[in-house]
C-alpha cells in the first residue's frame, strides 16, 4: 500500500526513542503486524535500507512478528482463525463477527547500543 510513509514513520519513532535512551546505534527493530494490515515486508525492508543511511538506525535489522487474524462470532461466541479474507462462522454460519486479532500495526521495541 504505502510502504514508504510507513517506513518513514518506523524510522521516526525508532530514532526518537533511541535518542531519548542516549543510544549510539540501533541494532534491531521489532514490529508487530497483524495479517489484516496490508503491508509487504520486502518493500518496507527496501525503503528501510535507503532511508536509514547515515541515521542512528543504519544497519538495524527489521523483525516482523505477524499476528494471525482471529474472529469472534457474536452469535455463538466461537473464536476462529482465518487464513485469507473474512469468512462466516464455521460453527453456525453467522456473518455477525468481530475481529479480535490481526489488526496490530505497531513498533514493539528496539535494541540499542549505548
Amino acid at each position: 500500500m504505502h510502504e514508504l510513509s510507513v517506513t518513514e514513520n518506523i524510522l521516526n519513532i525508532a530514532s526518537k526513542h533511541a535518542n531519548q535512551s542516549k543510544a549510539i546505534r540501533v541494532t534491531d527493530i521489532h514490529l508487530v503486524i497483524g495479517t489484516l494490515s496490508s503491508i509487504i515486508d520486502d518493500s518496507v525492508q527496501f525503503y528501510w535500507d535507503i532511508l536509514t543511511k547515515e541515521t542512528i538506525c543504519e544497519g538495524a535489522n527489521l523483525h516482523f512478528e505477524r499476528v494471525p487474524a482471529e474472529l469472534l462470532c457474536l452469535d455463538c461466541n466461537l473464536t476462529y482463525a482465518i487464513q485469507s479474507g473474512l469468512s462466516p462462522c464455521p460453527n453456525c454460519g453467522s456473518v455477525r463477527v468481530n475481529v479480535v486479532a490481526g489488526e496490530e500495526f505497531w513498533l514493539e521495541s528496539i535494541e540499542i547500543e549505548t
Binding site: M1, I13, S21, L31, S87, V95, W106, E108, S109
Partner: protein, 223 residues
C-alpha cells in the same frame, strides 16, 4: 557489544492519528461536520458530490477539499462553477490523502462560513483506509460496474466505513452484479452498515442520502 532492549509499543500510524485529532478539534470548534469520501477511480465521487451540493438546503453552506495525485484542477473547477468553495490538494503522486495534506488544505477553507466539509479522497480502495483525516464520517462509494466482489478483495476499506453508497444502480440491468453476494461481504466486514443505493444519473435514491447528511449537519450544528 551487548544491546539494551527498549520497549516502545507505539502505533506506526501514531503521528498521522495525532494530527487527525487536531483536525477534528478544528472542525468541532468551527461547528463543521466533515466527511471523507473514498472510492475507486471512476466510481462517481465528483458527480455524487456535485449532485449532493445541488440538493442541500440553502441554509447549509459547504466547502470541498479535492485530493488528486496529479496537478489537475478539473474536479475543483466543477465544484467552484456551482458556487461552492473548493480547495485542490495535489498529493504529488501519493495514492491517498493523509492528515498532513488535509491540515494544509484546511488552512485554505473558509472555516467560519461553512457547516459541511466534503473531502474527496484520491481514487483508490487501499491506501486511503489507513490514513485517518479527522473527519466525522468515512464514506465509500461502490459503483455497480466495479463488480460485486470488491468487499472481499478490499476488506480494510469496508471495515473503516460509517456509510456506504452504492452508485450507478441504473446500470443493474446491464451488468452481472449479484447484490446478495455483495451485501453479504459488506455484512461480514461491517455489520448493519448504513447503505444508500443511488444513481447520480437518474437521481434515484439521492434524497435518502442527502436527508441523512442534512440531519447529521443539523445535529452537529446544535452541538
Amino acid at each position: 557489544m551487548p544491546t539494551i532492549r527498549v520497549p516502545i509499543v507505539e502505533k506506526i500510524m501514531e503521528a498521522n492519528d495525532q494530527l487527525a485529532k487536531g483536525i477534528r478539534l478544528r472542525l468541532d470548534q468551527a461547528g463543521i461536520f466533515g466527511i471523507n469520501i473514498m472510492a475507486s477511480p471512476g466510481s462517481g465521487k465528483t458527480s455524487l458530490i456535485l449532485q449532493t451540493l445541488l440538493k442541500l438546503p440553502p441554509d447549509i453552506r459547504s466547502a470541498v477539499i479535492e485530493g488528486d495525485t496529479a496537478p489537475v484542477t478539473i474536479d475543483a473547477e466543477k465544484i467552484i462553477q456551482i458556487g461552492v468553495p473548493a480547495v485542490q490538494i495535489n498529493t504529488g503522486g501519493e495514492c491517498h490523502l493523509d492528515a498532513v495534506m488535509m491540515s494544509r488544505g484546511l488552512d485554505e477553507v473558509p472555516l467560519n462560513s461553512i457547516e459541511l466539509l466534503i473531502v474527496e479522497n484520491v481514487g483508490n480502495l487501499i491506501c486511503p483506509a489507513a490514513f485517518n483525516l479527522g473527519t466525522h464520517a468515512n464514506i465509500l462509494i461502490a459503483s455497480i460496474p466495479e463488480g460485486d466482489d470488491k468487499p472481499y478483495k478490499y476488506p480494510n476499506i469496508y471495515r473503516s466505513l460509517d456509510v456506504l453508497i452504492i452508485n450507478k444502480t441504473d446500470l443493474m440491468p446491464y451488468i452481472d452484479f449479484d447484490m446478495e453476494y455483495f451485501r453479504q461481504g459488506v455484512e461480514l466486514l461491517n455489520p448493519r452498515l448504513i447503505t444508500f443505493p443511488v444513481s447520480c444519473k437518474t437521481g434515484e435514491g439521492m434524497d435518502a442520502w442527502v436527508d441523512w447528511l442534512v440531519k447529521k449537519v443539523r445535529t452537529n450544528r446544535n452541538g
